[in-house]
C-alpha cells in the first residue's frame, strides 16, 4: 500500500508541475531569489566592502521577511486553488475508500515533493543569481570580480527554513480543509463558486464612481510630501482600488446593455462577457494584484530615484581627488595641509579663495527666471587663475577667457538661464561682459564649494579687494585617497569644529564613490528585491487563474467554430480578452505610479536629476522594468492559451 501511495503522490506531483508550469517556474525563481539574497545577507565579503555595509544584513533581512510573506501568499493561494480544481479527483479517492487524513497526506506529500524539487532547482539557480548580484555589488565598489562557486551552507539552510515555513503554512490550511470535507463537498466543490456570477445594481455603479474619485484623490495625497497625508493617500488608493475592481464587473454590462449596437458589434460581446464573468469572481483578487503592482512600480521608481539622487550628488562631489572647503576666511590652513604633505602624495594642487561680489545681480536674475535659492547673499566669485588650476586638477580641457569678459560656471540645470544672461558685471571699477558658460562638475553644492549651483569667473585683477567668502583646497593625487586618510582628515575637521565652531567640508572621490555604492546597495537592492518578488507573485497568480480557464475557453471556441466563427475572429476575441485581462490590473498602477515617480524625481535639488536621471527617464525605466517581468508572464500565458484553446481548422 505504502509504495502505491507514494507512487501516486509522485505521479500527481509530476502532473502538477506540468499543469501549473508557470507556478512551478515562479516557485523555483522564488527559491533562487531567496537563496541569492540570503547569500548576500550572510556573506562576510559583502560586509567588508565598506563600513556602512554592516547595515546590509538588516536591510536585506527586513526585505526577506516581506518577500517570505508574499511568496507564502502565492503558495497558499496556488495550493488552495489547485485543491478546488482537483476536488473531484480527491473526492474520488474518498469514494474508493481512502480516509480523509490519507487524502490530506497524499495532497501534502505531492505538494511537498513539488516544493522540494523547486527548492533544489532554486538553490542551483540561486547560486548563479548570487554570483550575478555579487558581481554587480563588487562593480559598484569598483572591485574586480572573481568567480567562486561557493554558496554558503548557512544561506542554503536559511532558504530551506523559509521554504519550510511557506509550505507548512500553505499545506496546513489545505490539510484542515480536506479533513473537514466530505465526499459530496469535494465532488461538488467546483460548483460552490458558481451561482450568482453576474450581479448588477445602481449601488455598485456609485461605488465605481466613488472609487475612481478616491483613488485619484489618494494619488494626489501620496505626492503631497507629508507623512500623514501620504499615509492617508495610500489608504485612499487601497480602498479606491478594491472599490473599483469589485464594482467594475457590474459597470461594464450596464454600459453595454444601454448600447446594444455596440454590444453586438464584432467580438465585443464575447470579450466583455468573458472578462466581466471572470472579474465578478475575482474582483478582490484583482484589486490585491493591482495594489501589489502599484507598490512594485513605486518601489522600482523610488529605487531608481534614490540611485539617481546618489549618483547625481556623487558626480558633483567627486570631481576632485581631494577637496577641502574651509568655512572661515582668516585661519591657519596648515591643519590640513601638514597632514596632506606628510601622508598623501599630491601631483597638482591649488589653495584659493572664493570671493563675494559686491552685489547679487546674477542671483536675483536666477531667482526671477528659475526657482533658485542659495546660502550665499552675494554672487560668488572665482579668480581666473584658480579656475584654470581647478579645471586642470579635475581633468577638464582648458578654456579661454577673453579680455574684459567673465565666465559663468554652473550646474547643468542652470545652463539655459546662464546662457540667457547677457548683462555685464562691474567689479572694482572694471566692467566685464559675458564670455561663456561651462557646466562640468565643479563641486558647486553646500556652503564651502564653488558657489551654490553657479560661480562667476573673473580676471584676477578684477577680484582684488573683494571680500573672501571661504577658503578652499583642491588636489589631484597620485593614488585615490585611501579611506584611512579620509577618516584622519575628518577627525581633524571635527577638531576644527570643536575649537572654532566653523564647519568645513572634505570630499574625496574615493569616499564619495564608496558612499554611492553603499547607499545603492542598502536601498536599491532591497527595493528591487521586493519589487521583483511582488511582480512575480502577482503575475503568477493572474496566469494561474487565466490558464485554469483553458478548458472552458477551449469548449467555448469549439462551439463557436461549429457556429461558424472565423478563426481570425476567434484569435481576435481571445487576444482582446487576454490583453484586457492583463491590462486591467496594470492600468491603475500606471495611473497612480507614474505621477508619483515623476513627482518624487523632482524633489531633489536642481541639477541632480538630469539626463538619464531625469524624472521622465526614471519613470520610463521603472515602467520598462515592471513590464519586462510582467511581459514574460503574459507571453508564457498567451503562448500556452493560444495553443490549447483555439481549435484547428478541419
Amino acid at each position: 500500500m505504502s509504495v502505491t501511495y507514494f507512487e501516486l503522490s509522485a505521479r500527481n506531483a509530476k502532473r502538477q508541475a506540468r499543469d501549473y508550469l508557470v507556478y512551478f517556474a515562479t516557485v523555483v525563481l522564488a527559491a533562487a531569489l531567496l537563496c541569492a539574497f540570503n547569500g548576500l545577507l550572510l556573506s562576510g565579503e559583502v560586509q567588508t566592502l565598506s563600513k556602512s555595509m554592516n547595515m546590509m544584513p538588516l536591510m536585506l533581512g527586513m526585505a526577506s521577511a516581506v518577500v517570505v510573506c508574499v511568496f507564502g501568499w502565492l503558495v497558499s493561494y496556488a495550493t488552495g486553488f489547485m485543491l478546488s480544481r482537483r476536488s473531484r479527483e480527491l473526492g474520488t479517492y474518498l469514494l474508493i475508500g481512502l480516509e480523509n487524513k490519507q487524502v490530506a497526506r497524499l495532497f501534502f506529500l505531492e505538494n511537498l515533493a513539488v516544493g522540494g524539487c523547486a527548492l533544489a532547482l532554486g538553490l542551483v539557480l540561486g547560486d548563479v543569481l548570487y554570483q550575478a548580484l555579487r558581481a554587480i555589488l563588487l562593480a559598484l565598489f569598483g572591485i574586480p570580480y572573481q568567480f567562486t562557486l561557493a554558496l554558503s551552507l548557512p544561506a542554503v539552510a536559511l532558504t530551506a527554513v523559509y521554504f519550510a515555513l511557506i509550505y507548512l503554512f500553505a499545506l496546513g490550511r489545505s490539510r484542515r480543509r480536506i479533513r473537514k470535507m466530505n465526499i459530496h463537498g469535494l465532488i461538488y466543490f467546483e460548483k460552490q463558486n458558481q451561482g450568482a456570477v453576474i450581479r448588477s445594481g445602481k449601488g455598485r455603479r456609485w461605488v465605481f464612481a466613488a472609487s475612481v474619485v478616491l483613488a485619484a484623490a489618494g494619488t494626489v495625497l501620496l505626492m503631497s510630501g507629508s507623512g500623514e497625508l501620504g499615509l492617508t493617500g495610500a489608504g485612499c488608493v487601497i480602498v479606491g482600488l478594491y472599490g473599483f475592481f469589485i464594482s467594475f464587473a457590474s459597470g461594464v454590462p450596464a454600459f453595454f446593455d444601454r448600447r446594444p449596437a455596440r454590444k453586438y458589434k464584432g467580438v465585443n460581446l464575447l470579450v466583455f462577457r468573458t472578462l466581466t464573468a471572470k472579474l465578478a469572481t475575482m474582483g478582490v483578487l484583482m484589486a490585491t494584484i493591482s495594489m501589489i503592482f502599484t507598490a512594485t512600480l513605486m518601489a522600482e521608481g523610488t529605487g531608481l530615484v534614490l540611485r539617481g539622487l546618489f549618483m547625481g550628488r556623487m558626480s558633483e562631489k567627486a570631481c576632485f581627488d581631494l577637496y577641502i572647503g574651509m568655512g572661515e576666511p582668516e585661519r591657519d590652513r596648515s591643519v590640513y595641509l601638514d597632514y596632506i604633505e606628510a601622508h598623501i602624495p599630491v601631483e597638482e594642487d591649488v589653495f584659493y579663495q572664493v570671493y563675494n561680489s559686491p552685489d547679487d545681480q546674477f542671483m536675483a536674475y536666477l531667482k526671477e527666471t528659475n526657482n533658485y535659492y542659495s546660502f550665499y547673499e552675494q554672487d560668488p566669485i572665482l579668480r581666473w587663475s584658480d579656475y584654470a588650476a581647478l579645471r586642470s586638477i579635475a581633468g577638464y580641457p582648458p578654456v579661454e577667457l577673453g579680455e574684459g569678459q567673465y565666465l559663468i560656471h554652473c550646474i547643468s540645470a542652470l545652463e539655459k538661464d546662464a546662457r540667457g544672461y547677457t548683462r555685464p558685471i562691474s567689479l572694482g571699477g572694471i566692467t566685464l561682459e559675458p564670455g561663456g558658460v561651462h557646466t562640468e562638475h565643479l563641486l558647486q553644492s553646500g556652503v564651502t564649494g564653488q558657489g551654490h549651483g553657479y560661480i562667476l569667473v573673473v580676471p584676477d585683477r578684477a577680484a582684488e579687494g573683494l571680500s573672501v567668502h571661504h577658503l578652499a583646497y583642491a588636489a589631484k593625487t597620485a593614488e585615490p585617497v585611501p579611506y584611512e586618510d579620509f577618516y584622519n582628515l575628518t577627525v581633524l575637521m571635527d577638531q576644527v569644529w570643536e575649537n572654532t565652531g566653523r564647519a568645513d567640508q572634505i570630499n574625496t572621490e574615493a569616499s564619495e564613490k564608496d558612499e554611492l555604492a553603499s547607499q545603492t546597495a542598502l536601498t536599491v537592492f532591497p527595493l528591487f528585491y521586493l519589487a521583483l518578488a511582488l511582480t512575480m507573485t502577482a503575475a503568477a497568480i493572474l496566469t494561474i487563474q487565466q490558464l485554469s480557464e483553458s478548458e472552458r475557453y477551449r469548449r467555448q471556441f469549439a462551439l463557436l467554430q461549429k457556429l461558424g466563427m472565423d478563426r481570425r475572429d476567434m484569435a481576435r476575441a481571445l487576444g482582446r480578452q487576454f490583453v484586457l485581462y492583463y491590462a486591467l490590473p496594470a492600468v491603475p498602477p500606471v495611473l497612480i505610479g507614474v505621477p508619483f515617480i515623476l513627482n518624487l524625481a523632482k524633489v531633489p535639488e536642481p541639477g541632480v536629476m538630469v539626463g538619464l536621471r531625469s524624472p521622465a527617464a526614471i519613470t520610463a525605466f521603472s515602467l520598462a522594468l515592471f513590464f519586462l517581468v510582467y511581459g514574460l508572464y503574459i507571453l508564457m500565458a498567451y503562448t500556452s492559451l493560444r495553443r490549447n484553446v483555439l481549435p484547428q481548422d478541419r
Binding site: Q194, G195, V197, I198, P260, A261, R262, K263, Y264, K265, G266, V267, L269, L270, R273, T274, T276, A277, Q556, L559, L560, Q561, K562, L563, G564, M565, D566, R567, D569, D649, R650
Partner: protein, 252 residues
C-alpha cells in the same frame, strides 16, 4: 436541399482502419423533418459531423443547395456554417457567461451583420418560441427546456436553411422533451425550417416525417410517416429498431 452522395468515412491508421460510414446516400427536401436513428456506434454522429462540415468525408460528396461542402476551402467553411446551418446540441451548448438574449444574438454577430438590428431580430424569434420573458437571464437561471428552446432560436435566428439537431432531447425530462419536439414540429410546419435530427430515441423520431436507420455505417432502412398518426409511426419505428437488433433500451 441536401444531397448526400455515396459518402464514406474511415478512421484510424494504415494498419487499423475503422469504417464509420459506408456508401451512405440520401436526400433531404426543402422543409422536410428527417430523423436519423441507429444504435451507439452506428455512425449517426459521424454523419452529422460530415454534413455540418466539422469533419471531412473520405469519399463521396455532400451538396447543400447545390454547393459541395466537401470541397469548400477552410475560410469559406466558417461562413457556410454560420449562414446555412443551425445547430441544436444535446447539452444545449449555451455560453454560461452570456444572457439568453446574447446567446441567441451571438449567431448574428458572428457574421459581422448590422449590430443595431440584432436585438430586434432576437426578440422576434424569441417571441415565436415563447422565451421572451427569459431573455435577460443567464443559462444557469433557466430550465433545461428553456435552454433548448434558446438553442433552437440561436439555430434559426440568422435565417439558416438547415437545422441540425444532435440528440436534442437527450438531457431533458419527458415533459420538456415533448414541449421541445412540438416546437420543432411547429418550426418545421409554420416557419418552413428544414430539420435533420439525429436521435436514438424512438419517441423523438416519431415527430419526424421520415426516419432513416443506420447500422454499422450503412443506411439500413427508411420509413415515411405519410398520413399516419404519430403513435402508429412510433410503433413502426420500434419494429424497425427491433429488426435492427439495437439495444433493448433503445426499443423499450
Amino acid at each position: 436541399m441536401l444531397h448526400v452522395q455515396n459518402i464514406e468515412k474511415y478512421y484510424g491508421t494504415k494498419n487499423n482502419v475503422t469504417k464509420a460510414l459506408d456508401r451512405v446516400s440520401f436526400t433531404v427536401e426543402d422543409g422536410e423533418f428527417l430523423a436519423i436513428m441507429g444504435a451507439s456506434g452506428s455512425g449517426k454522429t459521424t454523419l452529422l459531423n460530415c454534413i455540418s462540415t466539422i469533419d471531412t468525408v473520405s469519399a463521396g460528396d455532400i451538396l447543400l443547395d447545390g454547393v459541395s461542402v466537401s470541397n469548400l476551402p477552410a475560410a469559406e467553411l466558417a461562413r457556410f456554417r454560420r449562414e446555412r446551418l443551425g445547430f441544436v446540441f444535446q447539452d444545449f451548448n449555451l455560453l454560461d457567461t452570456l444572457t439568453i438574449e446574447e446567446n441567441i444574438g451571438l449567431a448574428l454577430t458572428l457574421g459581422h451583420g448590422d449590430a443595431g438590428a440584432v436585438q430586434g431580430r432576437v426578440r422576434e424569434v424569441a417571441g415565436k418560441l415563447g422565451i421572451t420573458d427569459i431573455l435577460g437571464k443567464f443559462p444557469y437561471q433557466v430550465s433545461g427546456g428553456q435552454k433548448q428552446r434558446a438553442a433552437c432560436a440561436r439555430a434559426m435566428v440568422a435565417g439558416q436553411s438547415l437545422l441540425l439537431a444532435d440528440e436534442p432531447t437527450g438531457a431533458l425530462d419527458s415533459r420538456a422533451s415533448k414541449n421541445l419536439l412540438e416546437i420543432m414540429t411547429e418550426m418545421n410546419r409554420s416557419m418552413g425550417a428544414t430539420i435533420l435530427m439525429v436521435t436514438h430515441d424512438a419517441y423523438s423520431a416519431s415527430y419526424a416525417k421520415r426516419v432513416l436507420f443506420l447500422k454499422d455505417g450503412r443506411v439500413f432502412n427508411e420509413i415515411l410517416r405519410g398520413n399516419r398518426g404519430r403513435s402508429v409511426f412510433y410503433h413502426e419505428i420500434l419494429d424497425v429498431l427491433a429488426a435492427l437488433g439495437g439495444d433493448v433500451s433503445d426499443v423499450l
